[in-house]
Structure formats: C-alpha cells, structure tokens
C-alpha cells in the first residue's frame, strides 16, 4: 500500500517536473559595450557607440533584443573617404529598423539587407565598406538568431566554455567579406558582397549564457582562453559588473595589440600562412558583452 503511494508520488513528481521544464518566461539581453579606436586621439568625440572606424548598436523591441557590430574598412581613408561614416550609418540604420519593428527576429540577415538598402536611399552619397555581425535574441522562443558577414563575430559561453561561435568569412588574407558602396567609376573594382552572403545561425540559449560580440580587433589579439578567463570574473547579471568585465576585456586586448613580442592569434595565423610576424595587431576594438537574463520591463 505504502509503496504504491510513494511510487505514485514519485511518478507524479516526475511528470510534473517534466511539464515545468518548458520555461514560459521571456528572456532578455543585458548588454554593455566598450571599445577603443586604433588612433585613440583625445578630443575627437564621436557619437556614442563608435570606436575609431568600428560602430555598434544595442536595441530593444517588444519581441526581441538586437545588437550588432560593424568594422569599417580603413583602406578608404587613402581615397579621402571617412570609413567610420559607412559603419556608423549602417549600425544606426539597423538600430532604427529594430526600434520601429521593421524586422523579423528569426531573420537577422533581413535586418542587414534592409539596412543596406536604406543606406542607398540616403540623399548623402555614402561611400565605404564594413563587415557586420547582427545578434538577435527572440524573447519568447529563447533562440539566438545571428547573421555574420566578414571577420567580426560572436561567442556564446556557457559554464566557462564556448558552446557556439561565428565563422569568419574571408576572401583572402586580411580581406573579409564586406558590405560596400563604391563610387560609380570603381563599381567593378571595389569588393562588394551582398548582404545575402552573410552566414546565419540559430542557437537555443539558457539563462546565464554569456554572449560576446566583437570586431576582429578583439579576436585577433586575445585568444579564447584569455577571454574565458576574464569572463569567469563575471559574477552576476548586473549591468555594472557586465560593463566592468567588458571594459577589462577591451583594455586587455588594447594593451596586447601594442605588445611587439606577444604571439597574438593574428600573428599565429600569419605564421601559419608563411608570414614571419610577431606581436599584436593594432586595430579598432569593439566589445559588446551580454548576459541572457529574465525580461523585466
């Protein structure tokens, strides 16, 4: 008799436990940003969320949290074009799209495509190119949808380990896939990839997952284990502690970039390709650090 009751209780508990696995809470991303421009010249005050030729954005919508980074290609400077104009306008347009709800959370490539088309609708003749990486967290489905074009990217860290990451898209060494608008006389010559060429992934996230989105200034200077080390210091999902960690990661990358003897991932890759180099890679660094948390209005 007793065993029947206790067995029944066990079964009931198991069934109920199984049912409550489906989490009906809405998720959100608590995000902090930090970065350094390559030529960290004081006095040049760019609009927020722009670090050198890099740009980023963080936007909230009822259905999703969206963030993105864009790395402006510096080579345009030689032709009299400010590379930060393109990446900055691209990111601000993406932000506006998200805020106005003109996007589908499961289609981040659509955000890139629409944003790129909007750039062409600007009266101002924009020129330049940049990579782009968009990360969307769908609040209700708990899925992370991403689109990556070029060599910026993201990591998803769970329990101290990288469980999901983006792939770099390069045409050849130091020439990533890039969105670009070229002057008409150089249409065929300038590298211009379509937004459809972006890599797109979907990944289920859990509460407490850490998402690090950054431009290649970070990944080329800091290997995974160093990043993970810094992330271990992240204690809770407070904005202040995330901001602190993001800052420490960016600062460390910035220091390593100017270290001439350090064997950075960039130098390692160069060596693997036959180029005998050492040291960090001075570059614009942009870091967006997010934690998946419960949604509070």
């Amino acid at each position: 008799m007793f065993s029947v009751l206790s067995y029944g209780r066990l079964v009931a508990r198991a069934v109920l436990g199984g049912l409550s696995q489906t989490d009906s809470r809405d998720y959100s991303l608590v995000t902090a940003s930090c970065g350094f421009g390559k030529d960290f010249r004081k006095g040049i005050l760019k609009k927020g969320m722009c670090y050198g030729d890099d740009a980023c954005f963080v936007a909230r919508h009822r259905s999703a949290d969206v963030l993105g980074v864009a790395d402006g290609v510096g080579g345009w400077r030689d032709y009299g074009v400010d590379p930060s104009q393109f990446s900055g306008t691209l990111m601000r347009t993406c932000e506006r799209l998200v805020k106005e709800g003109r996007f589908v959370p499961s289609n981040p490539v659509g955000i890139l495509t629409t944003s790129y088309c909007e750039l062409l609708q600007n009266k101002v003749p924009l020129l330049g190119s940049s990579t782009a990486c968009i990360v969307v967290l769908d609040r209700t489905s708990h899925r992370l949808h991403t689109a990556n074009l070029g060599d910026s990217g993201f990591l998803v860290v769970r329990g101290g380990e990288v469980v999901h990451r983006s792939d770099e898209q390069q045409h050849y060494f130091n020439t990533p896939f890039q969105l670009s608008i070229a002057p008409p006389e150089a249409e065929g010559v300038v590298l211009s990839d379509s937004p459809d060429a972006a890599d797109s992934t979907t990944f289920d996230v859990q509460l407490g997952d850490i998402i690090l989105t950054a431009t290649d200034g970070l990944f080329d200077n800091m290997p995974d284990y160093m990043i993970l080390q810094e992330l271990k210091k992240l204690k809770n999902s407070n904005y202040e502690s995330i901001q602190q960690t993001a800052r420490s990661i960016a600062e460390q990358a910035h220091e390593l970039a100017y270290d001439p003897t350090y064997m950075s991932p960039f130098a390692q890759f160069a060596c693997d390709n036959g180029l005998n180099v050492r040291g960090g890679k001075p570059d614009d660094i942009t870091v967006l650090l997010s934690i998946v948390a419960e949604y509070t209005d």
Binding site: R96, E100, E118, Q121, K123, P184, E185
Partner: protein, 621 residues
C-alpha cells in the same frame, strides 16, 4: 340621489390623496438623491488630466519623397517620437512630401487649375495620423525640422480608426486654418497654432500642407496631440474668438447643409410663384450665367434658394462644366452626388480628389453619377480615391468615351486588375498613376492602345518588373509623349532610355530621379541630351554617376532647359555647371544638393553671375 355620487367623491378623494402622497415621496426622494449627489461630488471631483500623445500610426497621405517600404524621407516617419528635432537639416528620418515651391506648376506637365476654388482652400497635400486614445484636443504641436511653415490646416475627425464598428456619420472639424505664409529661416521649430475647441473626442488628426512658398522640401518630424479625456467646460476663451472666425465657421457648417437643405426645400412645398423677378428679368440669361460663374459651388446652392429664376440659373448644367469638389472633401458623400446628378449632365472637368473615403462615397453612388454625367467628361481627377475599385474603373472606361485626362495619384488600394480597363480609354492624353499598384501587363496594354498620350506619370509604381520593356513600348507607341515621370523606377537601364529617346522625340520633361540602375558610363545621359533637344525639365536626382561630360552635353544640346536636379553626385565640377548656366538661358531651377564638388562658396559665386537661377543646396547640419 344615488349612492354613486358620494362614492365617486370618496374614490376621487382617495385617489387624489394617494397621488399627492406619491408626489411627495417623489420630491422627498429627489431631495435625498440630490443630497447624495452633493456628497459624492465633494468626495471625488473629477480632475481633467491632460494626455500627451505622439502619433501611433500614419493612416493615409497624398504623396511623399521616399520610396515605398523605406523609412527614409517617407510619411511613416511622422508617427512616433521625434528623431531629429530640435536639429535642423535634411535628414532621412523625417516625413517629406513629394513637391515644394511652384516648380511643378511651371513645368510642361503642369495642369490648368480649376476655377471657382473657394478663397480659403490652399491645401496641396495631406497626411492623416491616428493616435492611441481619443481626447478633446487642447493643443497640437507640429515638430518641423526643415523649411517650416507649410502646414496650413489641421483637422480632427470624430471617427475612431481603431474601433470595430463603422460610425454612422464621420465628422471633420477644422481645428485651425490659415493662408500660407513665408517663414524665412529653414531652421527647426515647434509649430503650435491656436486650435479651436471641439465637442467630440478625436484620435484622428489630419494635417493639410501647402509648400508653394517654401524654398525647398519641407520636412516634418513628429506631431504631438495634447488633449483631455473629459469634455472640458467651455472657458472664457471662446468669447475671444475673432468675429471673422465665426463667419468662416458658419460658412463651413453651411457648406454641407446646403446640399441637404436643398432637398428639404423641394420636399416641403413648391416655391411660391412670383410674377416678376424685379430687375433680374431685364438682364439677359447669358449675363446672369456669367455673373454666377464666379461663385463657388456652396454659394451657388445658397443663391438657388432665393428665388425661382435664380434657382433655374443655379441648376443650369452650364454652371457645372468645370466642377471641383476637392475643397469640400470632408462633406461630399453619395447624397451630394445624387443632388448634383441633374445639374452635371454636361460636366467636362470633374475633380473628386480626396473625396469619398471612410465610406462617404460608395461604388454604386459613384457609378450612378458617372452613368448619368460621364458622357461629356474630359478630365477626371481621382487622387487618393480610396473608395475606388475595379468596377469604378470599368464604369469610367464605359461611360466616359471622351476622357482625355485621368488622375489616379496615390490610389494605392486599387487592385492591379483594375488598371486593365484604362486601355479602353483610347483618347487619353494624360494619365497619372503615381504610387499605384499597376502591373506590367496592364501598363503595356495601356501604352499599346492609348497612342494619344502626352503626359504620363509612373512615379513609384513598384509593381512593374521591367521598365526597359515599358520604355521600349513607349518609344514604339507613344510618339506624342511630352512629359514622363519615372521617379524611383528601380530597374530602367540605358537600353530603355535609348529606345525612349529615339521614339519619343517630343519629350520636354523627364524625371529619372532615384533610378539607380542608370550609369553615366554607358553614355545614356549623353544620348538623352542629343536626342531630346526640347528638354525643359530633367531630374537626375541621386544618380551618383552624373558627371561633367553629361552636363556639358546638356549645355550643348538642350538650350531650353529650365529645371535640372543633379542631387548627390560627386563628379560634377563648378566649371561644367558654369558652361550649363551660360548656355541654358532659361534655366530657373538647379538643385546641386549633396554634390561634393559644389560647396556653398561655389553656389554663391554662381548666384552672383547668374542671378535668375535658383540654385538649391540642401544641408544636413
């Protein structure tokens, strides 16, 4: 004496006493109630909280600068919080209408205006905004960020766009109206006109705009509606209304009533027979007709009620040969059309633009009107006619054999198959399909059969897949084409342009603004210039490939050029512009906004040498 009498007396007394008792209790009851009322009043006095709202949604508009499905320079930017204000400048996040100034009235495609427009109607464009909560408006702020001063009328509607049931009667009340005035500075401002109080709550506001005094495109960022939820007690403010305003109010109210009161006049009694009409009998019929031809339609209706002779004159179809009902859009409905039926049998020009929305005009009402009055129709304006459907176009095609001008601008609810009927209108000389959903096959059919076409507008017709094909059909069939609007035709290439230029030698006006697939390196602009020497207006807005060679070719070949827009190219230098200005003596508009080689200093120099040309250079900061 029978016992009945005293019985009756007793009964009546009894009854009387009972009634009094009931009355007394009633009064007592009322007193009790009023005491309760006083108590409740003192306990909770309703405070009239002011609600401040930004627009939730843009419902309808007559035109905009930007592309469909874009958020740059489109009317949808007027909803929500401001993105640019208080900055000034030409920004993508603002709402911009398609035209400004008087330039579109000065180019070859300009239409003759309707006479008898009421003196207080200046509106050229409109936008309708929905807000979340209906309120009694206390203030309306319009945040203008570039070349302010175009808003000339603000109206409020009693219809709630978010309610499930359709209202029986939709009222529009003018909150504020003024003639266009020039604002000298292009800087941003918050425009807060003094609005009148209305007696119904509203969450549907309409702005009407006139940009004829603007130096450049006017841009709006947001609209803020201040209002109260409870009906406000009429304050002393009302007594300070200008006497002129009252007159105008009376006018506006009567406008709608005229058509209705006319019917009442008929139904009651026949007008008394007058044996003489005084001095009016001495005037010839044609003279009275001439005098009456200067009256607006509402005045005509009022005059008709004075005497039988004038009634006869006012109902004479000769008074209704040109009829514009656009100024009265808020009050035109099926009943109005019904009244006008008998008088409009000879109508040649009919303007029903902006009328009939939200159920005011039905398909059957419109069809019936055209069946009776369509035979002489030559010009039909139906801009923003959202009540139109395929049947209506079928009726037009069938009932208006003499139709030469058809305007379906911004009729974006018309289904694509409706346009098939336009091909039957073989005498068409002017066709405006701006922002409609016309499809390729229908358009090809129209071009095939309407060989008299002189003016064609296909601006923002997004459903057409291959504009090169359209252009080659035009070149082959529409030899009389004089003006062509291909604004934002996304895929026309040099092949289409070549066939167009070869076939339509009479072209005087060509708008190729925002056509990104045209490349100067193919020589398309050069061949345009050489083949179309009669060009008076050429818009190459935002074509980034326009270069010095193109300008020089225009200078050499198109000496009649009056308006040129080369916004946004990096490759035109001051020297070639100078050549153009020297050669084209009639040039009056030159838009060099966002041309990197043409800075403000160059503009000043050119202005000094060529003072008759308006050189436009827009700025973002």
């Amino acid at each position: 004496m029978s016992p009945v009498f005293p019985m009756l007396t007793v009964l009546s007394m009894f009854y009387y006493i009972c009634l009094r008792r009931r009355a007394r209790t009633a009064t007592r009851g009322e007193m009790i109630n009023s005491r309760r009322a006083i108590e409740s009043n003192s306990r909770a006095l309703p405070i009239n909280v002011e609600v401040v709202q930004y627009a939730k949604e843009v419902l309808d508009f007559s035109s905009h600068y930007g592309s469909e499905n874009s958020m740059s320079y489109t009317m949808w930017n007027l909803a929500g919080i401001p993105n640019v204000y208080p900055s000034s400048g030409d920004f993508t996040q603002t709402a911009v209408f398609r035209t400004y100034g008087t330039w579109w009235d000065q180019c070859p495609s300009a239409q003759l205006p309707f006479k008898r427009t009421p003196p207080n109607f200046y509106s050229q464009d409109y936008v309708e905004l929905a807000f979340e909560e209906p309120v009694y408006p206390t203030a309306v702020h319009v945040l203008e960020t570039y070349h302010p001063g175009a808003v000339i009328r603000i109206l409020a509607s009693s219809a709630n766009p978010y309610s499930q049931n359709t209202p029986a009667e939709v009222r529009w009340e003018i909150l504020w109206s003024e003639a266009p005035t020039k604002v000298n500075s292009p800087q941003a401002r918050q425009f807060t006109p003094c609005i009148k109080q209305i007696d119904f709550p509203t969450n549907l506001i309409r702005l009407e705009v006139n940009s004829s005094l603007q130096d450049y495109y006017t841009e709006l960022d947001a609209v803020v509606l201040h209002g109260v939820k409870e009906r406000p007690v009429l304050s002393l403010k009302t007594s300070m209304i200008d006497m002129n305003d009252l007159d105008e109010d009376d006018d506006e109210e009567k406008n709608g009533c005229e058509m209705d009161s006319l019917n009442k006049q008929f139904s009651v009694t026949a007008l008394r027979e007058w044996t003489t009409n005084g001095y009016f009998d001495k005037l010839p019929y044609e003279l009275i007709q001439l005098i009456l031809s200067h009256l607006t339609v509402p005045d005509l209706c009022r005059l008709a009620q004075t005497c039988k002779l004038l009634y006869q004159h006012c109902c004479d179809p000769l008074q209704y040969i040109h009829l514009s009902l656009q100024p009265y859009w808020a009050r035109i409905n099926d009943t109005s059309l019904e009244y006008l039926l008998s008088r409009c049998t000879l109508v040649q020009w009919l303007n029903l633009s902006w009328t009939g929305n939200r159920g005011a005009i039905s398909v059957s009402g419109f069809s019936r009107f055209l069946k009776v009055c369509g035979t002489e129709l030559v010009r039909l304006e139906l801009a923003c006619g959202h009540f139109l459907n395929e049947t209506c176009l079928e009726v037009i095609a069938e009932m208006c054999p003499n139709l030469q001008e058809l305007n379906l601008s911004s009729c974006d609810k018309l289904p694509p198959q409706a346009f098939n009927h336009i091909a039957k209108m073989c005498s068409l000389k002017r066709l405006v399909l701006y922002r409609t959903k016309v499809e390729q096959t229908a358009l090809l059919s129209i071009l095939n059969f309407c060989s008299e076409l002189q003016h064609l507008s296909l601006g923002s017709c997004v459903m057409i897949e291959d504009y090169d094909l359209i252009a080659s059909m035009m070149g082959a069939k529409c030899k009389k084409l004089r003006t062509l609007d291909l604004w934002r035709c996304k895929n026309i290439t040099e092949n289409g342009i070549a066939e167009l230029a070869s076939g339509c030698q009479l072209l005087e006006e060509l708008d190729l603004g925002w056509c990104p697939t045209l490349q100067s390196s193919t020589g398309c602009f050069t061949s345009l210039a050489r083949k179309l020497p009669n060009l008076q207006k050429l818009f190459l807005t935002a074509n980034r490939s326009v270069c010095d060679t193109d300008i020089e070719e225009l200078a050499a070949n198109c000496s009649h050029l009056r308006q040129l827009d080369i916004l946004g190219t990096r490759m035109v230098s001051p020297a070639s512009l100078r050549k153009l200005l020297e050669s084209c003596k009639d040039l009056s508009l030159l838009d060099v906004s966002f041309c990197s080689q043409i800075d403000n200093r160059v503009v000043l120099e050119l202005n000094a040498s060529f003072p008759n040309v308006f050189i436009k250079k827009s700025f973002t900061q």
